[in-house]
């Protein structure tokens, strides 16, 4: 009747998920397991109607990459992301690839069994999106830009994190040099990095560009997997020139 595909690298978590799925969805007769994104993509292709619950942070090929190719092939696939962390980097990565009107979910591993059960049923049966509170909070902030970052600011953040020069960024994004520097100013302001002008002796000065990247990391605006993705996109762009 219903097939569910589990993509999760940790064996303990995988078997826990398996049990949870069977308990929450009696109408589900088959549960398939994959231990990383690559295998996950393959199994998703082979079992056309599979609904998916998967981890982010696997290797090789993490959950976001896998989701992107899966959704590209079948945009109506329902995916529940089940992750340890609610980094803004993940949230942005996902909301960038979720297809129009697709049903998906994001629940944290720290959630109760009940929350997980509810999410499974809502998404797979009711086609409703279920986003964990904490994750929800981040989404609001990003969009409402009360204290959040616009896409263009985020874009430039990624570019300096990759180590590009202003000039290179300008070429890549089709902007003038000055515009790039302008955006950098905005970014520095929002990240609250600046020279702590120790007026008398030269005080603990920061290299704003490098400092911004660090602060973004500490605030989980960036994380390893977002860097990895960005790096891949960059080298792709470098090929095409």
């Amino acid at each position: 009747m219903m097939k569910v595909l589990i993509v999760e690298d940790d064996p303990l978590h995988r078997s826990y998920l398996n049990e949870a799925v069977r308990a929450a969805l009696p109408e589900c007769d088959t549960v398939i397991e994959a231990e990383n994104g690559g295998v996950g993509e393959k199994l998703a292709r082979e079992n056309k109607s599979a609904h998916i619950v998967m981890d982010l942070q696997m290797s090789p090929r993490n959950g976001i990459e896998a989701a992107r190719t899966i959704w590209k092939e079948r945009p109506d696939t329902r995916i529940l992301f089940w992750s340890n962390y609610a980094d803004e980097a993940y949230v942005r990565g996902i909301s960038r690839i979720v297809p129009e009107g697709a049903a998906y979910g994001y629940v944290l591993k720290s959630a109760s069994d009940d929350r997980l059960r509810l999410a499974l049923r809502s998404i797979f049966i009711e086609s409703q999106c279920v986003i964990d509170r904490e994750v929800r909070g981040l989404q609001q902030k990003s969009l409402g830009h009360a204290n959040g970052f616009t896409d263009s600011e985020y874009e430039i953040l990624v570019d300096i994190a990759l180590g590009l020069t202003d000039r290179a960024i300008a070429r890549r994004r089709n902007l003038s040099l000055r515009s790039v520097q302008n955006r950098l100013q905005q970014l520095y302001e929002k990240l609250e990095v600046y020279q702590p002008v120790g007026e008398d002796s030269e005080e603990g000065r920061f290299n704003l560009r490098a400092r911004a990247v660090t602060v973004a990391f500490l605030r989980k605006l960036l994380n390893y997997s977002s860097l990895e993705r960005a790096e891949a996109e960059l080298s792709e762009w470098l090929q095409a020139r």
Copy 2:
């Protein structure tokens, strides 16, 4: 007879460890559990003779921070680190704090039950160090500096990752400005970052300083927790001035 303290934030992994410990060490009569580094420190203090197996990557207070304070109080405590990753950043972090002649271990979560059992017995009964192969490899490279980084290179890597200027680094490490820049040159060379001198048109130029940090991240020379620690040390130093 013997007490073992488990410090691990994931409930599934925690109960798995609990079972593994009981199975591997019949001479152990009490197993205590803590769900983060802070609680771990407290329980270690209260149960003086406890042997410890713990995760890195917890919050608040990760395994390295917890180990440092525990070893500071009782340097003969035996600790087995049980982690998902073998980042060089972790390996360096640990080997910096392990006391003279202390017995400790580092096994990956992906290791077999048998490996874990063996490690538990070797460390807690025989007082022998047990380091997983992959982790071992990193240690060699760091020290033998065949392709590894000396401490001073690593130090300056951390400093630019924090976003300090050359001048600030010079003050912090008591060096001249030029020396700092010299070390940066070495670092760039070892990380293989350089200007891809596109002789005709200005080619994909990099800001070496920022690029070096990114490359270090992708190579797992740095990770979130190492940045976190470095940031704490920095603000401490800024206080003392």
